[in-house]
């Protein structure tokens, strides 16, 4: 039991960068902008964060460097999609490749060297709560930050005035504009904030979870795509997104834990287990929208149809209506 608790505390720690990146992407997408560069961005901030911490000797400057890199990336995305009105998917995809290659190119001098790491810091009193204390409150400070972020961003989006404006900008930019809201300024703001948060994920890996920078062997290529799909799974809701992130890392751990029992399956195969799962989740979330399902449902008896509709509605959360669409005032 104790051993299991330690593993689960490890899952909570390992899920933290995913949680933070998912919430960042949720904020960005809520305003109507997609950051498809996320995969490259996490690799780049991982390198930049480690390098900065190594040079300055301060892990916190490393974390800050990750945030700043993320903000700059967000500004490039907003500028190209909001001001220059170019395709967000195109620019995001190009940046994803560019950031990744930049990380590998510029990261060479920092490869395979020991650097500073973030230590854990137990919260007094809370750490002594049975089970919960061991799971959640004997972690490093960034994990505690992620708890605050989950609650704070949920409150911001759904229970505050700025959040109301944010949702308005993402759902109905035209009516938001007619009520005097600077739609594009809001989008710039939340894109930068969201990518900045996503930029924290990289240093969290290289300064804590997978300490050190190992070039292509760092093994972060792919995380960003997972984050993007968890954002969809989470229905652009920080609570659901965080749950998705914890679930994902738990399943990853489960794969590793089961490995000794599956001797014939190479470890590389178990590592990709999340991806079929990602496709299946997206399938469950989206299939209710397709024409053929709608047609098939129409032929079912009423009672059964109602039940299925309810399940579909529970799984499905529609994306912000103007996601990816540039706003033009006419």
């Amino acid at each position: 039991m104790n051993e299991f608790l330690t593993s689960m505390a490890g899952v909570v720690a390992a899920a933290t960068p995913v949680v933070v990146a998912v919430i960042g992407e949720t904020l960005t997408e809520r305003s109507g902008v997609i950051n498809l560069s996320l995969n490259g961005l996490i690799v780049l901030t991982a390198m930049v964060g480690f390098a900065s911490a190594y040079i300055t000797g301060s892990v916190w400057l490393g974390i800050l460097a990750g945030f700043v890199t993320g903000v700059v990336a967000g500004m490039v995305i907003s500028f190209s999609s909001i001001t220059l009105k170019q395709s967000q998917v195109a620019v995001g995809f190009i940046l994803s490749l560019l950031f990744r290659d930049l990380a590998y190119f510029l990261g060479t001098p920092f490869m395979v060297i020991p650097g500073p790491t973030i230590g854990s810091w137990s919260i007094p009193f809370l750490k002594d709560i049975p089970i919960i204390g061991q799971l959640f409150f004997r972690q490093n400070p960034l994990v505690y930050f992620s708890y605050l972020l989950i609650i704070g961003s949920f409150y911001l989006i759904f229970h505050s005035r700025p959040g109301l404006i944010l949702r308005g900008v993402g759902e109905q930019p035209v009516s938001a504009y007619s009520r005097g809201i600077a739609v594009n300024r809001q989008r710039y703001l939340y894109t930068a904030l969201g990518t900045g948060l996503a930029g924290l994920a990289g240093p969290m890996y290289t300064l804590n979870i997978k300490a050190g920078w190992n070039g292509t062997m760092t093994g972060l290529d792919g995380i960003g795509w997972i984050v993007l799909s968890i954002t969809i799974f989470g229905g652009w809701n920080p609570l659901r997104g965080a749950l998705g992130a914890y679930l994902f890392v738990f399943l990853q751990w489960l794969g590793l834990a089961l490995q000794p029992r599956l001797v014939n399956v190479p470890s590389q195969v178990l590592q990709v287990a999340p991806f079929p799962l990602m496709i299946l989740t997206l399938l469950f979330v989206n299939i209710g929208d397709t024409e053929w399902v709608a047609k098939m449902l129409a032929t079912l008896p009423r009672g059964l149809r109602g039940v299925i509709y309810r399940i579909i509605r529970l799984l499905r959360k529609p994306p912000p209506a103007s996601l990816g669409v540039p706003f033009e005032r006419e």
Binding site: Q86, V91, L97, Q268, M278, I279
Partner: protein
């Protein structure tokens, strides 16, 4: 006035390329390297000897093949990011057929042809999976494709370390190489095969004719430009989108088959070598015009080959080629946005 716009269009494109060079130079300076020395090494590394030129052409073939397929999906307005997996599945299917038939005693030509067909089938099946997920499951082709890419890579590694492992040691170097009789014949002294060049050129021409002169091409364009209007014109949109996936899968599968039969002569873990994603960059840059893809892909392939010199000559990582390629496309697209705003403003002042 139109003529005037054409000149400004070219000026903006050239400016984009220059900015990309400048950006790469800054990146090199951050890495404390001399930019002109690095550019010279890349250039010489790609063209200084006949062998290097031939190697650039060897890299050009898979790149132009994937670009051929991607121009079709782009025309239909789709992002086939799953192309990497489609290449991989093509390579797996080809390897499978060659393994089955290598001791059959059949003529090599027959076995190789079957190998290529199997590759096409592999690519098409994987493309149809992504397409099917999009049209019957409502999953964005971007995420379906990405997931399928990772699954394809895992399948390759499983095969190399599992059922197809080399006698004795299974390793990242791949499966056991095929007999030389099953290699695509090359020009003596080079790694380049005339047949692969022929295949590439024919593919470009086929896609050019398909998109320019056939009803299918016209309808794909209609679907890509405005799907809603296409439906009103009576075009079965999703059927045409699925068709574009299948056509792209053909070229992706061919790429995989070519890498197995013509280049590596076995299945290796990273058999797609990133040519799918690079093809996406090429297709974005040429903006649906397949004829332009030929020179652009050659330039990108030369950058890949030239980049190999960087670790040898300057102790720099060869990923600089990737930095250059993606910054070319990035600044091209950014300058395109600037150009549109510039023209709009100019017309506004003229109207006043």
């Amino acid at each position: 006035m139109i003529r005037n716009h054409k000149i400004t269009n070219y000026l903006f494109r050239i400016a984009g390329i220059l900015i990309a060079f400048l950006f790469t130079a800054i990146v090199l300076m951050i890495a404390r390297a001399n930019p002109s020395e690095a550019f010279a090494n890349i250039f010489l590394g790609a063209v200084s000897t006949p062998i290097k030129i031939a190697d650039s052409l060897v890299a050009w073939v898979p790149l132009i093949l994937t670009s051929c397929g991607l121009v079709i999906t782009f025309t239909a307005g789709l992002w086939n990011i799953g192309i990497e997996g489609q290449i991989t599945l093509g390579a797996i299917a080809t390897t499978w057929m060659l393994r089955l038939l290598q001791d059959s005693g059949w003529p090599s030509v027959v076995i190789l042809l079957i190998g290529f067909l199997a590759g096409i089938a592999g690519g098409v099946i994987w493309a149809m999976l992504a397409g099917g997920l999009k049209f019957f499951g409502g999953v964005s082709e971007i995420f379906a494709g990405l997931g399928l890419n990772f699954i394809a890579t895992a399948l390759t590694i499983y095969l190399i370390f599992g059922p197809w492992k080399r006698a004795g040691v299974a390793s990242m170097s791949g499966t056991k190489p095929f007999e030389e009789s099953l290699w695509l014949p090359t020009i003596p002294g080079f790694r380049l095969s005339i047949w692969s060049i022929v295949l590439a050129v024919v593919s470009v021409l086929i896609v050019f004719i398909l998109l320019k002169n056939t009803i299918i091409g016209l309808r794909l364009k209609a679907v890509g430009k405005n799907p809603k209007a296409a439906v009103q014109m009576g075009i079965p949109t999703s059927r045409y989108m699925l068709l574009s996936f299948i056509l792209c899968g053909i070229f992706a599968g061919l790429t995989g088959a070519m890498q197995v039969i013509g280049v590596y002569h076995r299945l290796i873990p990273s058999i797609s070598s990133g040519y799918g994603f690079l093809g996406l960059l090429v297709a974005m840059l040429v903006n649906y015009q397949i004829l332009w893809a030929a020179p652009v892909a050659l330039f990108f392939a030369a950058l890949n080959i030239g980049g190999i010199q960087l670790p040898i000559m300057m102790k720099l990582d060869s990923t600089l080629s990737g930095v250059m390629q993606s910054s070319f496309v990035l600044f091209y697209i950014l300058m395109d946005g600037v150009r549109k705003i510039w023209i709009k403003n100019k017309e506004k002042t003229r109207d006043e």
